[in-house]
């Protein structure tokens, strides 16, 4: 019998074990291929070539995937070999040299690997198309970019080459495992503990301190500090997570063991001891999964939040569906004509008279840059005018009430320190003065000027009478702004084009919600798509790793269940034992990953969302959106848990009679 026939025979005889192996390996190939196909996709290429930030993000995603695939395959390969210890040791006993056994296993890996490669790439071609369609049609319906996946020969070749290299590395690593075996150990393999992990209180506390301090840093409300602290936060949290799983969790299990009332409840006794027995072999996997889950959950939540807020963000930016000001000729009739020919109803139209004022003030410097000086004019509104303007808008700014002698200050950009600089500032007019009592960020009411003031109605009247508030002039006409809201503004492309055509060159400036919305859709939609896509891949990859590990463990734990049934464990108890044995393995990394992500979202909120989402407490709203994605994540994990549970149960119940 030569090696090839022996290898083929082995594959046939071990097909049950090989099915799981092929499953996890096929999944890795699928992942890598899909990622490469995504990278090769023309649209993605075009969109990202111009922005090095996105290229960076994608490349680092690629590196994480590759490292993880390598880690995943080598670890599953090694546990696969361990599961076949008896068989291998029999070869050894009959005088086969380690090298020959290594060759045999390598041959098997190559045979199965090549087949799997074909399956994986095939699945990749099929699913990347399916996944893209699914994401674009169901989740990102408003996304206008064109991401179509085609069969990509480049990605296929690269995937194949990559995996042939990985198979060789697996072969070497298998050889190492075989050389590490002692014949004697091989025959009593099942009985040797994988090494007990006692854990220590010091490590537990240290890991909690590390994670907590990372969290505290991440929760700081100052975006400059958070951006600078990003790397330290990552180091603190990741090292804390690994320490927790290496030394902390075993200690927690130890503490549970000490509580006899809980521990001596039959089911707990079996499952806690079984989990703590496996701790060493699974601690690194759990920690890695927790970290990856955090990354994936954050990516998915960020993408979804950006995407979901695109509409809100658009209106907080522009306020109306159509805004224009400074017309050079009379436009009213022409505009109405455009709406009429398109059969679109105008919901509301307002013409706002724009006024300005030029008070005396000290110069304000913010971060060594001039923010305000005596020459700057302010756009100015009475509180009544302002309130009616924002009432008409789709913005969710609140109406204001201002006491005499005070003023609100509105600035279109978010800037560090603006509040400190502007609050309490005195603006002097000829006979009076107002003091700024509040700073708002909005670019709705400025209409061409950076600084905007809202005054008490009576103060405003007085200044109009003393001719200090004057109507703005432009192109020889009194400046007015026309703000319009109309039906189905974000979806009517034809109307938008015609409106833009009618306005071009005839006004000082115009903006439409449609254009703004679609611009942000294009950027956010793509970020969101890639976030979803990569998270999906991460979720499936981590969950299937857990599945694989547990099913492999089931093979080794089978005799324990057999013994337990002998001493009278009922079926119901057995199901509880299996549940308690598996649940922590799935649940703990997921929970820790999500908690990490909640804090990561806080950081993202401080840096990005608080400027984007115009509500009082943007973090709460971010958490709301994130929760949807966390739930989706948990559901996928739950499905994997159920699959694993039934498979595990089936395996340990086998041979029961």
């Amino acid at each position: 019998m030569n090696l090839l026939t022996l290898a083929l025979r082995n594959i046939r005889l071990n097909r049950k074990k090989y099915i799981m192996y092929v499953f996890s390996m096929g999944f890795s190939i699928f992942t890598v291929y899909t990622f490469l196909a995504l990278m090769q996709n023309n649209y993605v290429k075009m969109a990202f070539q111009f922005d090095t930030r996105y290229t960076m993000i994608l490349t680092s995603f690629g590196v994480i995937i590759l490292v993880f695939v390598l880690f995943f395959l080598i670890s599953s390969n090694n546990s696969f070999i361990r599961a076949r210890k008896k068989e291998i040791s029999t070869y050894s006993l009959f005088g086969m040299t380690n090298l020959r056994i290594g060759k045999l296993l390598f041959l098997e890996t190559m045979l199965v690997g090549t087949a799997t490669l074909a399956i994986g790439i095939g699945a990749g071609i099929f699913f990347s198309k399916l996944m893209a369609m699914f994401l674009l049609d169901l989740c990102l319906t408003n996304f206008v970019g064109d991401i179509s996946f085609t069969i990509d020969p480049m990605a296929m070749v690269v995937t194949a080459l990559l995996f042939l290299i990985i198979f060789c590395m697996m072969g070497l690593s298998a050889l190492r495992v075989i050389y590490q075996f002692e014949l004697v150990d091989l025959f009593k393999a099942d009985k040797i503990s994988e090494g007990k992990q006692k854990g220590s209180v010091a490590v537990l506390i240290l890991s909690l301190i590390l994670i907590t301090s990372g969290y505290i840093l991440a929760s700081i409300n100052n975006s400059m500090v958070v951006v600078l602290g990003a790397i330290p936060i990552l180091i603190l949290v990741i090292s804390g997570t690994y320490l927790f799983f290496w030394g902390g969790l075993p200690k927690v299990l130890g503490l549970i063991k000490r509580n006899k009332r809980v521990y001596y409840g039959g089911v707990n006794l079996i499952s806690v001891s079984a989990v703590s027995h496996r701790m060493k072999s699974i601690a690194s996997v759990m920690a890695t999964i927790a970290v990856l889950s955090a990354v994936a959950a954050t990516a998915i939540a960020t993408g979804f939040t950006l995407y979901s807020n695109a509409e809100r963000n658009t209106y907080s930016n522009i306020g109306f569906d159509l805004v224009y000001y400074g017309e050079k000729v009379a436009l009213q009739d022409e505009m109405h004509g455009v709406f009429e020919t398109n059969h679109v109803n105008i919901n509301r139209k307002d013409i706002v008279e724009l006024n300005e004022v030029d008070p005396k003030t000290e110069s304000i410097m913010i971060r060594e840059r001039k923010h305000l000086s005596d020459e700057d004019s302010f756009r100015v509104y009475s509180e009544t005018k302002y309130n009616s303007l924002i009432m008409a808008s789709k913005n969710n700014l609140e109406s204001v009430q201002i006491p005499s002698g005070k003023a609100y200050y509105i600035f279109p950009f978010s800037q560090e320190g603006i509040e400190d600089a502007m609050l309490g500032l005195e603006l002097d007019f000829q006979d009076s003065a107002v003091q700024i009592m509040k700073v708002i960020r909005s670019n709705v009411p400025g209409f061409g000027l950076d600084h905007t003031l809202i005054l008490n109605d009576r103060d405003y009247e007085v200044l109009v009478r003393s001719n200090e508030i004057t109507p703005s002039q432009m192109n020889g006409r009194t400046l007015t702004a026309t703000v319009i809201t109309y039906e189905a503004a974000l979806s009517n492309k034809k109307l938008n084009n015609e409106l833009e055509e009618a306005l071009t060159g005839k006004v000082e400036r115009y903006r439409t919600a449609y254009s703004l919305y679609n611009e942000s859709m294009e950027t956010f939609g793509l970020i969101c798509f890639i976030g979803f896509f990569m998270s999906g891949v991460f979720i499936l990859m981590t969950a299937s790793l857990l599945y694989f590990k547990q099913v492999m463990a089931a093979e080794e734990e089978r005799h324990q269940y057999k013994m337990l049934r002998r001493i009278g464990m009922e079926d119901k108890t057995e199901r509880q034992v299996i549940q308690k044995r598996l649940l922590p393995v799935f649940f703990i990394p997921l929970a820790i990953g999500i908690i990490h992500s909640i804090f990561a979202m806080k950081t993202a909120d401080t840096i990005i969302f608080s400027n984007m989402i115009p509500v009082e407490n943007s973090y709460l709203s971010v958490l709301g959106f994130s929760t949807v994605m966390y739930l989706a994540y948990a559901v996928v994990y739950g499905v994997f848990y159920l699959i694993t549970k039934s498979q595990y149960g089936r395996l340990v119940r086998n041979e029961s009679h």
């Binding site: 040797i192 009332r261 464990m569």
Partner: protein, 252 residues
């Protein structure tokens, strides 16, 4: 007091259609009284382990009744069987069958904690039994950290902890050296006299069998002979050897 009655028990392996039938047990009948220490002997393949599996309700007889405490065990459902095993029977196996993931102590209290007993009662029961069986010094170790004799004593301890009506021992000394084997047999005798526990032990070791009060010899699935221990241990030992040599089994 009679605690176990076996009536015409047969066990046939292989399906009805399959002509490859194999009869492991043929019309076996016997009775066991409270406090008996019974040995079951026979050559390899004679059906003694099958008998033990049926008595332990791990396996069901093809025909015949097996009555314990006035209840026909064959009528019980799967989960009732589990309960029956937990409450009435203690097992000691040749390869100990301790859970590797647990310390000896945890292994021993396992049946009680599966029954849902509270921690205090468990500790109290354990303390007495562990003291009697002499495993206190190693009780917090894991099975792979202690000797075979100690593992088997822990297994005996686990079998006893829920005060079973009957202990079934399948070649308990099979994996032990002669010193540990002797210790274990003394322990079983001690259990038998001190706790009045009924013991049924399958063995092919004549020396082990000589500790019993009564021996059933099985050949080709049938009871071939019975021997009772008299006052003379030497004589009993010789008689066992005689029967065994007639059976064509191992000699010692």
């Amino acid at each position: 007091m009679q605690i176990l009655k076996v009536e015409n028990v047969s066990k046939i392996y292989g399906t009805k259609r399959n002509s490859n039938k194999y009869t492991a047990l043929r019309n076996i009948s016997f009775e066991v009284n409270q406090g008996d220490f019974i040995g079951v002997m026979g050559a390899s393949g004679s059906g003694k382990t099958t008998l033990l599996n049926i008595l332990g309700s791990l396996d069901k007889p093809t025909t015949g009744n097996y009555i314990m405490n006035g209840q026909n065990i064959g009528d019980l459902q799967r989960n009732q069987l589990a309960k029956h095993r937990m409450e009435n029977i203690g097992f000691i196996f040749q390869d100990y069958n301790l859970l590797e993931t647990m310390t000896l102590k945890e292994n021993i209290i396992l049946p009680l904690s599966l029954m849902g007993m509270d921690a205090k009662t468990i500790e109290a029961k354990l303390a007495k039994l562990a003291g009697d069986l002499g495993i206190v010094p190693v009780i917090d170790k894991y099975p792979y950290e202690v000797s075979g004799g100690e593992q088997q004593r822990a297994a005996a301890c686990r079998a006893l902890i829920n005060n079973p009506k009957m202990i079934l021992a399948d070649e308990p000394t099979g994996n032990l050296d002669s010193k540990s084997g002797k210790d274990l047999l003394n322990l079983l005798s001690f259990i038998n006299t001190e706790y009045k526990t009924t013991i049924l032990m399958v063995t092919h070791d004549v020396f082990a069998a000589s500790y019993c009060q009564k021996i059933l010899f099985i050949r080709d699935g049938e009871i071939y002979n019975e021997l009772y221990a008299g006052s003379d241990k030497k004589h009993f030992f010789d008689s066992i050897i005689d029967v065994m040599s007639m059976l064509g089994g191992e000699r010692k």
